[in-house]
Symmetry: C2
Subunit: 207 residues, 2 copies
Amino acid sequence: KDILEANRRAAVEMSERLREHSVKSYDFMGSIGSGKTTIIEKLVEMLKKKNIKAAAVVGDVAGDDDYRRIKAHGIQVENVNTGKECHLDCHLIEHAIEHIDLDEVDVLFIENVGNLVCPADFPLGTEKRIVIISTTEGDDIIRKHPVIFTIADIAVLNKVDIAEYVDVDVNVMVGDYRRIKPHGKLTLTDAKHDVGLDELIDALEIL
Amino acid sequence: KDILEANRRAAVEMSERLREHSVKSYDFMGSIGSGKTTIIEKLVEMLKKKNIKAAAVVGDVAGDDDYRRIKAHGIQVENVNTGKECHLDCHLIEHAIEHIDLDEVDVLFIENVGNLVCPADFPLGTEKRIVIISTTEGDDIIRKHPVIFTIADIAVLNKVDIAEYVDVDVNVMVGDYRRIKPHGKLTLTDAKHDVGLDELIDALEIL
Ligand SMILES: Nc1nc2c(ncn2[C@@H]2O[C@H](COP(=O)(O)OP(=O)(O)OP(=O)(O)O)[C@@H](O)[C@H]2O)c(=O)[nH]1
Ligand SMILES: Nc1nc2c(ncn2[C@@H]2O[C@H](COP(=O)(O)OP(=O)(O)OP(=O)(O)O)[C@@H](O)[C@H]2O)c(=O)[nH]1
Ligand SMILES: [Mg+2]
Ligand SMILES: [Mg+2]
Ligand SMILES: [Zn+2]
Ligand SMILES: [Zn+2]
């Protein structure tokens, strides 16, 4: 309980700090392999075309795979390895952004550790919280994880291009989401083929 | 630390209890939506044909979707909702098997909560621990989660039928697994189309 309270206080401070630098920030939570890095890579390139400077903090249990993929886009990025922890917390973000020049940044993307349970309890002080899932995980995944879909401002259902190969009915998932969060925003994407990403940028209210 | 020690002791007792009843037991860990329930459903039917009686304990954060899918196969099954916890522990299993008649059971399948981090720290007293992932999560997923692939006796890479649709090279994943666990058993499956399941039954040493 004390851990959650301390994290909440840190998140309030983080949000003020990011506002002082006029940085819009987004926490991308989601299941393992749902397409978080792919979506961030695509958004970074779309924003470059509009002269908007992005930076990223990438959380993973181990390794720097996601870090290297995002670094290749020529933006500031920090890698955070969480080891035994299955979520990022605000304290880790505080350390990560010490190495980022916030005056050179308009938008900060944080990629959380793949997990649909614990990240819900650890706000990071970002402007919006997003949860990204994909069709390939089965069409019951939304109703099985009500908490994270309730606390997230935006939900993204990715890989709609291959739903038929896993016998998934996208409408079932949309219905489950509506029941859990009637006024929430659910965006359907196929990040591989650049489908739905304009809607996502709109929903994020970056521009 | 005390939690892990208490769980370890409970696991030793559980393993003795299952042995007393000559029940072979398996802990199916894995990522969300990797195909854990699908694989258990298929194995249950394969064992029925050989007159081997299976039972199951199914762990999910919320809901009874998986429970209903397995119950439909006419076997004893117990549902465990973990709420805020992202893994099963042995204490939960002790309660669940109170409702199962172990004298009527040859094989016990436990489906863990979808997560590649915490379940590694909580052995359940089963004969073998299995980790199930799928191609659709990306080909970096094994090297990103070295601990669970080290502690699991068997790894299953499922959904090999659709690897090409997510630009995944199965050989990369096999190579990563070999580096982490040179003498481990990795089985490639397409559970939807009954591919690789005989090899899995062999690897589990059920018969
Ligand atoms: N067909 C298809 N494949 C996709 C799509 N989005 C991502 N992929 C593939 O899905 C796999 C996982 O994508 P990532 O972007 O690495 O997913 P992630 O959520 O960042 O994964 P982790 O950080 O490991 O949890 C990769 O093989 C991608 O090529 C999509 O919309 N359609
Ligand atoms: N194409 C294909 N689809 C599969 C395969 N195995 C499972 N699926 C599909 O993948 C989705 C998820 O399967 P489940 O068996 O529910 O996965 P799970 O690991 O039990 O999921 P959770 O319990 O929610 O973590 C479903 O839509 C299945 O139809 C496979 O080998 N190939
Ligand atoms: Mg990623
Ligand atoms: Mg399941
Ligand atoms: Zn957790
Ligand atoms: Zn965890």
